[in-house]
């Protein structure tokens, strides 16, 4: 199981434990059990359909985030709390989530990523506009005069170089 998928499952479990905390045993265990079963069934089904672990994780997190409001209302119904308390709790959760995300981003920036996760940064503009880079034009060959000047300079810098070998003997036709 990939780190992303394991993290997503852990986040869903943690959230379920958080909003069922302090409830009576029966409804608490029932809700936790149902979510656990759903996570397993979804994971198995998606895996058999060939979905990537990252895709499964993203789907799980989306299902979690989109249901947070109803989780809190359900919790309030269980506790018979007035709706305005749920509204306040919702705002508090949103604010706490923003602070948490900000803190997490700051903490992750300070960490050295493990080699497996060390990749180049994603260039968003390149993803949006996948323009091919212009191929580099090779430099033009030197003119004969430049070549002679460069060769003279070379032999001036390296005088110890042996002279070039003589040309092979020409065989005369008999």
């Amino acid at each position: 199981m990939s780190i992303t998928l394991a993290s997503a499952i852990t986040i869903v479990r943690m959230w379920t434990r958080a909003y069922t905390l302090g409830m009576e045993r029966e409804p608490r265990d029932a809700r936790r059990g149902e979510i656990e079963s759903d996570l397993w069934e979804f994971h198995e089904d998606a895996r058999l359909r060939g979905a990537s672990p990252e895709g499964i994780a993203m789907h799980m997190l989306l299902r979690l985030v989109l249901g947070v409001r109803n989780d809190l209302f359900w919790r309030a119904e269980q506790a018979r709390a007035p709706r305005y308390i749920v509204g306040d709790a919702l705002w508090a959760t949103a604010a706490a989530s923003l602070v948490f995300v900000w803190w997490l981003a700051s903490a992750l920036q300070a960490l050295e990523p493990p080699p497996a996760l060390r990749t180049g940064g994603i260039n968003v503009m390149r993803l949006l506009y996948p323009i091919r880079p212009v191929p580099e034009v090779p430099p033009a060959p030197p003119t004969p005069r430049e070549f002679a000047r460069l060769s003279r300079g070379y032999y001036r810098l390296h005088p110890a170089l042996p002279p070039p070998p003589p040309p092979p003997p020409q065989h005369a036709w008999r």
């Binding site: 149902e34 079963s37 759903d38 069934e41 979804f42 299902r63 979690l64 249901g67 109803n70």
Partner: protein, 113 residues
């Protein structure tokens, strides 16, 4: 008066029953609803299970936990199995009759192949 999701759950339960699946678990119903609506994203956990709890409270569904020996044998978590009650079927039938002109397409998709 049922909410759209509650109605969709009852429709999906009825469709599963027509396919000889009398008891269903939460993920199964989410998948059936997703397939029927051509949605790639399944119903959110909180939304789905809150609606299921409400339907059970209204008496349209009943639920039981499966025998613990089965998940233990299959190495998976236990399932909470729901069943559409007679009251649920009657409520669904009256909702269908009320919304007949507006919802023929969705029901056709849920019908067994």
């Amino acid at each position: 008066m049922l909410l759209p999701l509650e109605l969709a759950i009852c429709e999906a339960a009825s469709a599963l029953r027509e396919r000889a699946t009398h008891e269903f678990h939460g993920y199964q119903i989410a998948k059936t609803i997703g397939d029927a609506s051509d949605s790639r994203l399944l119903t959110a956990y909180g939304t789905l299970y809150r609606a299921l709890a409400r339907l059970e409270k209204m008496g349209l569904l009943t639920s039981r936990w499966e025998d613990p020996a089965i998940p233990a044998r299959e190495s998976r978590p236990g399932r909470r199995l729901y069943t559409l009650t007679a009251l649920g079927e009657a409520t669904l039938a009256s909702a269908r009759a009320r919304e007949e002109p507006a919802r023929p397409r969705a029901r056709r998709r849920l019908a067994p192949a």
